[in-house]
Amino acid sequence: MNEILLQGGRILDPGAQRDAPGDLLIRDGRISGGKPSTGAVVMKLDGLVVTPGLIDPHVHLREPGQSAKETIGTGTAAAAAGGFTSVMAMPNTAPVADGPNTIAWMRQRARETGLVNVFPTGAISLGQKGETLAPIGALRQAGVVAITDDGHCIQSAELMRRALEYARMFDLPVLDHCEDRSLSAGGVMNEGRWSRILGLPGWPGIAEEVMVARNALLAELTGARVVCQHLSSAGSVRILREARARGVRLDGEASPHHLCLTEELVEGYDTNFKMNPPLRTAEDVKAVREAVADGTIRFLATDHAPHCSYEKEVEFDEAPFGVVGLETALGVYLTELVHGQGMPLGEVVARMTYIPSDYFGLGRGTLGEGAVADLTVMDPERKWTVKKEEFRSKGRNTPFEGRELKGRAVLTMVGGEIRHDLDGRAPKK
């Protein structure tokens, strides 16, 4: 029998409406309601908060095929360091995860090298080309928790409609990177004042909003569940809010960078501020934050997108889109949402635990008796400075380098195993 007793922390389990000081016993990888035996390993957590393990529904692990950028091993190490115990992996690997073999390979690889739970998603269309439906039923049997052509928004409304109708048969969520490519074509930053000054091609908010509106209409028509990924514009938020008020099964994600960074950061042509969708205006940031606070946006998602330094260190318009996020996300959420705008900690934790777990059917997100012992110990008051050289991710492409954050994960446990222990609390074996 293997027992760990977490002693004296604040147990915060929003899904169970639990928020009180207490001890938590982990026995053989699960949460136990019993009494600790004399042999239990005790860790004192005075002043720290224990929550269900955090879930990130949007990461790029780059394996198979792009292991110079990241691997399942390094990506999940980054997740653990950031307090995440489960991640949902996007299918834009090489080959694209558009069939059951690739999904099976990823799951096997995650069992062998992963430090946290990896829940794969599958492609909507073959090769993410937006032409032919991928074998969605077979993908589901292989274990995907959602389908998405992330990064390659399906342009054909007809194909998107059929994908939603088909996915509805299994009630499988469909995630969409909302981008009308005829409107965003060539764009590398927000279209507006700063794209005019800098002479960079603009990617306007309207290109996102057109697709959010399309998805709202198609979700309503088909009854399918649709998540609009990494929403960046005030207009998108308004459309989402209106659709949800009508009862449409439409959801949205917010990414750390869209909660606090704005377009003028591109001024120095630093490609660490190039992501898709791009950073927008203070007004857009405000709208996204309000939507997270009022529950219009229910998911917090990093869109962790590691790239090699040599890939990012090129002319701005030539650089790939994307930034890493797993190791800074919790700090950004706590700094901006909890300390910055007074959102209750439990509300933020809810959006990172039971809400995504219930929605995607992950079977996690709780500290209830008998639950798998996935948990995160965080210090919401801890101040720290982001240093990319300390990342466990292979990616160094962060827009938060040098930023002071308040709040950090100090211990991460997955299935009762300690995967991250910032201060060395666990006794040496």
Partner: protein, 313 residues
Amino acid sequence: MSLAWHRKDFLSLRELSAEELNQVLATARVFKEILGRPIKKVPSLQGRTVVNLFVEPSTRTRISFELAAVRLSADVVSLDKDSSSLRKGETLSDTARNLEALQAGVIVIRHRSAGAAHFLAGRLKASVVNAGDGAHEHPTQGLLDAFTIQERLGKLAGVRVLIVGDIIHSRVARSNLWALTKLGARVTLVGPPTLLPREFAELGVKVSYDLDGQLEEADVINLLRIQHERMVQARLPSVGEYAGLFGLNLERFQRCKPGVLLMHPGPVHRGVEIASELADGTNSVILEQVTNGLAVRMAVLYLVSGGRGLGES
């Protein structure tokens, strides 16, 4: 008066103060005087190396920079995309490191990507001069336009300047906008909304979609090149329609002030942006712009190489 120049690089006019702009213009006036002498060469940059890295093709700007460097007695090397390893897939970062290893003192870069000059400047000890980066800026063009107006009209403050055409894709428009507004000119941008987005109105200039309504007040009309290939899709129905709405024809010219200056950064599409007779007429300063460009580029190369400002600003 002789002021020290404090910038390693010459990247954009947006970042320069009015005082700095005046310092370059004053220095350029001295070099223009030298260019009028029988012996046009000065020893200012003797023993220094200027590399012209023209990743995007350009004949007139490259020749202007080459000649400016030669007049200053620098050693000059010119590279274009085909003669450099960029063609073979070398990154700009690696090309830059190689140029650094060759101990180039000044690198003049023309590149199709906005920000390419900033990219080099942040990575090199050498001085970087922006000779046009994508749709961002063309600072020596902006300065030579300001120089030409000042020389012809005797001032910039209060001068009314129209910049007409494809504003959104134009680095010339952006550099002109910053130089002219900082030096007190009143700038109006003119073009169809598809080529002139409304956010430009936030940058200290007026935006108009009606050329005819602007003609009578204008002291200067700067006509930008329309790039046929790119334009005639969604942004313009046809070049003919553009010429009808925004081309400076003889009928429109009749309604301008008699002394209006007509400018064009070249190459000119005769009959599109400007009537052929007007491009060659007495109001046209198009060739003076080219001559002044040489003096302005000498001034810029001289200043970034550590020269002190010359002349009265």
